[in-house]
Structures are given as C-alpha cells and as structure tokens.
Symmetry: C2
Subunit: 433 residues, 2 copies
Amino acid sequence: MPQFLSTTDADFEVRFTQVLNAKREDSPDVDAVVADIIADVRARGDAAVIELTRKFDRLDLTPETLAFSPEEIDVACASVSEPERAALELAAARIRAYHAKQMPEDARWTDDVGATLGWRWSAVSAAGLYVPGGLASYPSSVLMNAIPAKVAGVERLAIVVPTPDGIANPAVLLAARIAGVDEIYRVGGAQAIAALAYGTETIPPVDKITGPGNAFVAAAKRRVFGKVGIDMIAGPSEILVIADKDNNPDWIALDLLSQAEHDESAQSLLITDNADFGQAVVAAVEKRLETLERRVIAGASWRDYGAVIIVKNLDEAADLSNRIAPEHLELCVADPDRLADKCIHAGAIFLGQWTPEAIGDYIGGPNHVLPTARSARFSSGLSVMDFIKRTTLAHMTPEALRAIGPSAEILATSESLEAHGLSVTARLRKLNE
Amino acid sequence: MPQFLSTTDADFEVRFTQVLNAKREDSPDVDAVVADIIADVRARGDAAVIELTRKFDRLDLTPETLAFSPEEIDVACASVSEPERAALELAAARIRAYHAKQMPEDARWTDDVGATLGWRWSAVSAAGLYVPGGLASYPSSVLMNAIPAKVAGVERLAIVVPTPDGIANPAVLLAARIAGVDEIYRVGGAQAIAALAYGTETIPPVDKITGPGNAFVAAAKRRVFGKVGIDMIAGPSEILVIADKDNNPDWIALDLLSQAEHDESAQSLLITDNADFGQAVVAAVEKRLETLERRVIAGASWRDYGAVIIVKNLDEAADLSNRIAPEHLELCVADPDRLADKCIHAGAIFLGQWTPEAIGDYIGGPNHVLPTARSARFSSGLSVMDFIKRTTLAHMTPEALRAIGPSAEILATSESLEAHGLSVTARLRKLNE
C-alpha cells in the first residue's frame, strides 16, 4: 500500500518531507572504476573499447565492426512491422514540428551610444547520444534525443548503444535512421562515453553527449563534463497527478502505473481534494496490479514510493506540487490552465483528463527527456537549446568608445587590471588627437 | 618570447596542436578534501561553516555575523568613490539592457489534430553567486552574474564572498547592492558552495549556483551539480585576436596583454596575414611589458602560452579560430562582420579595432562570463537562460487523442510498457462507446 496523507494530519509535514526526500536511488560508488575505464580508453583507444566490450557485453568486435554497417541497419529496419514503422514516423514528425518552434532568433541592434550589440546562435558540430542497451532499449528515446539535435543543425550525430551478446533492437536502429543519425556504434557503458568524449582511432570525438544510462554511464558523463557538454544526470522517473473527483479512477490509476512500471525506484504521486476519490484510485491501482505484465516492478514502486495526498483545495495542491517539482505533472481538473499557472516548477505539464502522460512519452511532440529528482526547480527538459550555443557580438564605433570607454578605464583601474584600462586609453588618445 | 608559427611551416600542424592543447591548468586533485568539507557542512551546518572560515580565512564568525548587515553594506558603499560608483551604475544599466533582450517568449499553439502544445518559462526561485575573495575580487563579475539573475526574475539572490582576515572589497558590496542582491555571506571555498547547495541554519539553500572560483570551488560545484544547477567549470582566460596589417601594433599588444595580465595560465593568441605586423606586435608587447604593473604575471603568460600565427589569408584564420574555439575573439580586420560569419565557435566576438576586449569585460553589455578551454564548441556565456527553466505543455482534446493515441499504443507495446498503452486504450474505449 502506498502512503496515504492528508494536509490536515498533525504529522503531515514530517510525512510529506519523507515522501519528498525518499532516497530512491541506490547509487553505487562506481567513480573509481569509471575513472580507470576513461583513462584506459584515452590511452589505448579502440583496443580498450573492444576489450571492455568483450568483458561487459560478451561481444567480439574489431575496429571494422564497431559501427553498424549500412547493410546491417537496412536488414534491421526491414524487420520492423509496418504499423510500428508508421507510428515511429508519426512520432518523429510531431517531435520535429514541436522542436522546430524552439529555434531561437539571432539578434542585433544599435543602442543609444551607437554601439552595435547582439548575439548569434550556432549548432554544436558533433553530438553523441547514449542509448541504453539490449532489447529493453527504447526507440522513442532515440527520437527524443536525436531529433532536437538534427533540428538544431548538428552536422554529425553518433549513437552508442550496447548490444549484449550481440542482440540489438531493430526498432532502435529504425528510429535512428528516421531521425537522421549518421553513425551507430555497438558499444556501451563508461567506455562508450569515454570514446565519444576523447575519440578513438575509429570513433571521432563529439562536442556534446546526451542520453540516459546506468550508474556507470552517469558517472562517466559527470567526469567528462567540461571536456564535452552533457545534458543532465537523470534519475528514476516520477509523476504527480493532481485530480479532482470528476475523473475515472481507473484512468488515473493507469497514469500512475505508467510511471511505476518503468522502475522499482520510480515515484507516482496523487494529490486530490477528495479522500473517497483517492481511495477509489488506490483500489483501481490494486486491481490493475493483479494483471499488469510488469506488476512486480510497478507494485514495488507503488508500495515503496507511491503516495496519495488529500488536500483541502487546489491552491494547496499547487503549493505541494511546487515543493515536489515533478518531472511529469498531470492536471486532471476542471480548469487545468488555471492550475498550471500556479505550478511553477515542473518538467512537463499534461492538461486535462484526455492527456495521459504516455502521450507525452511517445507522440505528443514535447520532449520526454525531463528533469528528475526535483531538478525542475532549475533545469529544463531536452530541447534544441542543448545542441546550440550563443556567441555574443559587440561592435563599437569611435563615438561609442568615447561615450563609454572612460567608465571602462575607471573600473579597470579599480580592479588593478592596468592593461585592460590602457587598451581603452590608447584608443581614446587617438580620438582626442 | 611567445611561439611564432606560420601555416606554411612544415611542422605547423604539430606546433599548432601543441598550442591548442597546452596544459595550462595545474588542477590539484582536491576532490577528496572537498567531499569531506561538503559532508561536514551537511552534517553540522553553521558550526562547520564557521569552523572552516576560522581555519581558511582566519576570521571568527557567529551565526549572527555570517551575513553582512545592511549597516555594514551602507558603510562600505559610502566609501566607494563617486566616479567608480557612476561607472558601476553605467555598467549595470548597460548589462541590464542587453540581458533584458534575452528573455525568451512563452509559446502556445494548436496543431492539425487539435492538440494544444507549447511551453512556458519561469525563473529559478533562489540563486547563489560565488565571488572570489579579498581585495582581488571583481565588482564587474558581481554585476555580470547578478544582473542576469535579477532580469530573469530570481526572487532570492545570495552572494558568498570570502573575506580573508576580514578584508572585504567595498566595490563588490556596492556592485551587489546596485544589482539588487538580497543576501551577502562572508564565507568562501567549498564550504560556501556546500552551504548554498544544502543550506544551513542561517543560510537557506538555493537552486542554482554560478560564479568563478579556485580549484576547491570548482570541485565543489562539480560535486553538488544535480542537487542544484551550476553554470560552468571555468578555466583560465583566453583571447584570440585576428588582425590585418592596418592596425596599430600597440593597441593589439594591449589587447593581448589584457588577457595575459589576468593569470599566468591565461592564453593570448594573435593570428595575422602579415608577418611583419606580427613581429611589430611582439615588439610592442615587449615594450609594454617593461612598465606594466602586472608584468610578471602577463610576461609569464605571454612567454609560456602566447603565440603569433601567420596565415595566408583570413579564411585560414577563420578555420584556425574554429579549432581554437576561443573565449574572446577580437576581429581587427577591414570587414569584421564577414569574418565573424565564418567564426562559428567563440564565446564572444569583438568586431573592429574600436572594440577592445576590455570593453566587453566591463561596460559593453554582453556578459563577460564566457566558456573557456575550447568549450565554446558546445556552451554559451552566462545569460538569463541560466536562471530560467522551461515547462512544456500539452493539452489533448478527445479528437486529438483519437487521432494520435493509437500510435502511442503501438509504441508502448513495442517497448513492453503495458500500462503506458492501457492509459491510452482506456480513454479511447470511452470515446468509442
């Protein structure tokens, strides 16, 4: 049974804080191992990657077979069923259309002193995308990572995906092809991150690495951050549903379970202003758990981290939501827009009872790579912004320099940076000749 | 003497790679020490911060004196000279005007299937800004970090600044006041980062930490990344000047020296298509180094990491610039806009001979916190974007769900995520009743 709380309970604050701070992730300290793997790949390149792949994935590769060949990808793509291909193509088209709107504008203007200022956006040249391995790898995640990169204008997009015992998911390869991925390497783990960051004889280095992975991948991304850009260190998935009594308890139960089935560490929370409705949802979850394929995982997640919180009104719900800062926030209430305005910290909001979170995972258009573990307080889901960078521009005329240069001289002197000041002084002197 | 290279040299590629990869930073491995400090601050809060401040800064604080009082700030501000105050205020106004233009728009639209999609930006609630300590701390950096945060709408903005032996820079406190900073704590080092990330009895936690610092601060930021957001791990400063012969060698020399004087690890590079001009700049640098206040630092930087590179033409210069991905790029050529279009990877570009880089450090308007160590390949300077985050929005109508829901069911089945599919199926069934 999940936690059942009410804001009117005397011990609510204590119990809510426990829900909020539940240590859901068992983070083994793999940092030393990962440091060794990265050093090995930097020192020995392909040879290290091949040796580590033999060890961890029981797969014998050569420099020639590190990447999937076009023919191998052809064969895999042809094996995907037609309905699945059509679904992937619809998803890709919708994700592409959404992300195309994210491309920001360049700017340039001349201000009151005659200085021309602005900025310019440009794409990262090469990006690498980590895709978790084997048959459990998700083609939808390939689309969600690769399409923003291609929309941003990334010229070279590489995927690394481990194929333990040589088993690859054909739908992942098809998703990569649909998204326009240029290279696919069958390597995984920290060794794949190291190869992308530093390059090997066969795998050229990239500038940015995105995508989810296990503890080894996360530790490797943290270590190579700075040498390359990374997206985020993702934790287990979460959903918060805020629902009033005018909902079908079974629909809400399925929405909660669609996070819980991801991972025993996932967290599914329901906030409602109606205790009877809350109980009805709990009953519906129990009923679905009798037959759900992934009932062991979903049941453990719901039992250990799930919670139903009864509030006096929806304002209280919004306040709690802001403390939770959920990855996914579903608002199944009469006026979801009004409630959304009050929910400031959330990765993605799903408005109304006809917008199950699963739509966002696959086909809605917005990205499903979202900030977890309360990081929606300060970060955003994946977007084209992750694959572009801004160069600021400044152009002074002699008159502009005459107007603002003297203040720069004063500040340089104040900071004891004489050459800074002199670089302005020398020019101003010429103007005053 | 700096390196003197020409692209026509037989060994150019080898020597250019050496310049590019010069190991300029001595990164002591302080990670273990920092891990202990963070654990101590998490466990003991104020007591740990106070004890570490006594140890490292030789300063006795109490919980009541951790923060500067308004009266102390008043006194410090009053001690700043009037010209310096006016210069800071002009700088603040120009930085504010530039960054105000960066605020992105929210978006919302209804697509062809009737789904309403979009996103919404909101500010980080609380941010903390690290300011390096003592008299060497830079008021300009306070403006550059604090103003974007306030423009973004950050409600609570705290500064941490070490004051070794109790010595504070009054201009830093004035800059903080001008920028609208809410709290100023006289603590520094890894203990200050830990206090901002996890909070103590006196220092409430923040959501995002920005600002430069030494190796301890950098290691602490890397460790707390995830718990809070961070800006970047900054390295020593760099400038690349691309100049043709129609420039005053002394001006270019001063621009090169204004990076070199920051730090013995700074790197100043000149690319020119005229060898005689290159030699003239080298001579001008030597002459300035005879008298420059910071000649020991600037001389060491120029000698150890400086380089003059002779190219055949400006296209070649742009290619090299893209490999360098400089933090600061100054284009002193006849048509700087045209050359800028080809220089894709750079933190900030200064166009034309009347735009010395020092203008950008203080008063131009764009931010001076910029990506170093080739990270302009994948990252941007500090901006309002660092203090806001995006929430994606999706609202399906029953008709929209009918149109795209079946594809979500197919993909969920393909990924063996049954509850995901059922959350759509249950709703579609209702529609088909």
